[in-house]
Structure formats: structure tokens, C-alpha cells
């Protein structure tokens, strides 16, 4: 057991606190998003309880927003569910990326990891899992980050459902731009290799071209095109490391 004396292994509680701290900037970006969801929900035809329940049990920001839009447009229930599947398919890719790190985890841990698997949580925790230290408590880091994101999301939905109703025309303020700003801040640090820059460019272009596809399928088409472009560039360009100048 000499290794346990060489590394200072953080306690589960310390890991959880680190996770909550590291996800803090992303929580700030999600606050307006959650408040707007709560503010718009009742106008789109969801009851107070179902809107709060959607944030508490579904916990999927973009799918929830798209569901609101479809409900407001009078879409049928199966169509909203199908669109939820398509919009959340990206989480399948996230869970695939987490596979190497969860193989020894208990079913209960896997369920918790699955439930909290949203864009922001994935972006933060994958970096912790990739760190080489042998901490046995990295799942606690996940729980801290995911739990903080979750509590904030539910609380902001409640704020929107209550206080948000008092703000005149809150939706017109453009608070949704906070999500755009957050996601740009998460994407840009990835853009350090040519295949990655190519993948990002192709994904953005295809997302615009495929925007007219039904059920928000354009998102998945763009994601697949971007991944394929990155993979192709990585395979076919020698010296792919280094920033394009």
C-alpha cells in the first residue's frame, strides 16, 4: 500500500466540493437559461407542477426548451418524445466517452452518472477522469459537479415559474444568449488542432444548412458530419498537431 502514502488521496467530500467548484462558471451560464425555461413554460401549455417536474426528472436543458417550442406550436405528444430522443442522442456519445472510467462502478453509481449526464457536467468531469492520479473517489467529483448543476437547474426553473412571471416580457431580453456564450467558451479551448478546427467548422456549417430538417434532426446530422470531418482530417493530414496559422 505504498502508493496510498505517496499520493494525497482526497476524501469523497473534498472531491465533491472540487467538482461543485469547477462547474461553477457553467452554472452561472445556465442560470438565465433555467429562469427563462420556468418563465416560458406555463405560456407554452405546461402546468406549474409539470414544468418543475420536467426540470427535476428529465434534467435536459435543450430538450426541455425544444419541447416547449413544440408544445406551443401544438405538436402531438409522440412527436415531442421523438424529438427529445433525437436532441439527447448526443448524450449517448458522452456516455461512450465515459465508459473506460465507469467499468468498476456499482449500478447505483452508474445510475447517478447517467442521470446527471448533461453537456456542462460532461465537459467538466471528463477532465477529472482523464487526470492520471489514482484517486478512488473520482465519482464523488462527478456527483459534486452534477448535483450542483442539478440543484441550480431546478431552483432556477422554480424562480422562473414564480418571480419570472412578474418580469414584463422576460423572454424578449435575450437572456438565452447566456447559453450561447457559455457553449462558445467551452468549444474554443478545443480548437487547437487542424482536424478539430475542421470538425467544428463543418458542424457549424451543416447545422445551418440542415436547420430546416424536421424534429431538430439537423443537430444530429451536423454532429455526425463534424465528427466524420474531424476523423477524416486526422486520418488524412500528416502533422495534424499544431494550431493552423
Amino acid at each position: 500500500m505504498s502508493s496510498s502514502t505517496e499520493f494525497i488521496v482526497k476524501l469523497p467530500r473534498q472531491e465533491a466540493l472540487s467538482g461543485a467548484r469547477d462547474i461553477f462558471p457553467l452554472i452561472v451560464g445556465a442560470i438565465p437559461f433555467g429562469i427563462i425555461f420556468g418563465t416560458l413554460a406555463q405560456g407554452s401549455g405546461l402546468s406549474f407542477g409539470a414544468a418543475l417536474g420536467m426540470s427535476a426528472f428529465v434534467f435536459a436543458g435543450s430538450a426541455q426548451f425544444i419541447a416547449l417550442g413544440l408544445l406551443a406550436a401544438g405538436s402531438a405528444l409522440p412527436l415531442v418524445v421523438l424529438t427529445t430522443v433525437v436532441v439527447n442522442l448526443r448524450h449517448l456519445l458522452y456516455s461512450a466517452s465515459l465508459l473506460p472510467y465507469v467499468q468498476g462502478a456499482s449500478p447505483r453509481w452508474k445510475a447517478a452518472i447517467g442521470f446527471f449526464l448533461v453537456d456542462e457536467v460532461f465537459a467538466v468531469v471528463i477532465r477529472r477522469y482523464q487526470q492520471p492520479d489514482p484517486s478512488p473517489h473520482k465519482h464523488w467529483y462527478y456527483l459534486g459537479a452534477g448535483g450542483a448543476m442539478y440543484l441550480n437547474w431546478v431552483f432556477c426553473t422554480l424562480l422562473g415559474l414564480t418571480v419570472g412571471q412578474l418580469i414584463p416580457n422576460a423572454a424578449a431580453w435575450g437572456l438565452d444568449f447566456a447559453m450561447v456564450a457559455t457553449f462558445i467558451g467551452m468549444v474554443v479551448p478545443y480548437a487547437t488542432t487542424r482536424p478539430m478546427v475542421g470538425a467544428i467548422a463543418v458542424a457549424g456549417l451543416v447545422a445551418v444548412l440542415a436547420n430546416g430538417l424536421p424534429h431538430k434532426l439537423g443537430l444530429m446530422v451536423a454532429a455526425i458530419a463534424g465528427v466524420a470531418a474531424g476523423y477524416w482530417l486526422e486520418t488524412n493530414i500528416s502533422g495534424s498537431v499544431g494550431r493552423p496559422s
Binding site: 466517452s97 445510475a111 458542424a203 436547420n211 486526422e234
Partner: protein, 109 residues
């Protein structure tokens, strides 16, 4: 529309998508090809969400300087390239977006 049924079904499909691979992780082996491809997933998906929100705010392509979302997004990219500080990118981007929106509004008769 039974909205609680909708919540239940959305919760079911969302959790299934997130959990299924994790549940079978002990029996799965990913090919190196797939692992390499998956490395592109996070930025590619986020980009595919963001770009239409910026250049197609009302469903129509809008690349003019009057598009405050476009100006705000350019500010975000510049800030993120300058400093890898997410809070700075969010705060600066929101300021640029709101400031530009206000300025555009003040230019209109």
C-alpha cells in the same frame, strides 16, 4: 395533452439514452476507431447547437452587423481565445450582446 405523461416519457427516454451504455460497460469494448471519433463529440455538438442560434435567430439567415447575437458571439470567441476564463467569456459576451442591442435600438428612429 397530459403534461405529466409527457414528463414521464421524456424522463424515460432521456435516462435510457444516458444510462444504457454505462449499464453494459463491463461487457463492452470500444474499437480504437470509435474512441478517436468520440474525441470530437463535445465541441462538435456544442457548435451544432450554438451556430444556428446565432446566425438563424428567427429561422432566417442573418449575417448583418445589426444581428446582436452575431456580434456577441464574435466577442465571445475573441474573449475565449484571449483568456481561457469561462466566466470572463460569459460576462463579456453578455455585455457585448446587450450593449450592441441597446446601441442598435438607439440608432433606429
Amino acid at each position: 395533452m397530459n403534461d405529466w405523461l409527457l414528463v414521464a416519457l421524456m424522463a424515460l427516454v432521456t435516462f435510457s439514452i444516458r444510462y444504457t451504455l454505462l449499464a453494459f460497460s463491463g461487457h463492452l469494448r470500444l474499437s480504437p476507431t470509435l474512441v478517436r471519433a468520440l474525441g470530437y463529440v463535445p465541441p462538435v455538438v456544442l457548435t451544432a447547437i450554438v451556430v444556428p442560434a446565432v446566425v438563424l435567430p428567427e429561422g432566417e439567415l442573418w449575417l448583418g452587423w445589426q444581428n446582436a447575437r452575431l456580434v456577441g458571439a464574435i466577442a465571445c470567441v475573441a474573449l475565449a481565445l484571449w483568456r481561457k476564463n469561462l466566466l470572463l467569456t460569459i460576462a463579456g459576451g453578455m455585455t457585448a450582446f446587450w450593449g450592441w442591442q441597446w446601441w442598435i435600438g438607439s440608432q433606429l428612429p
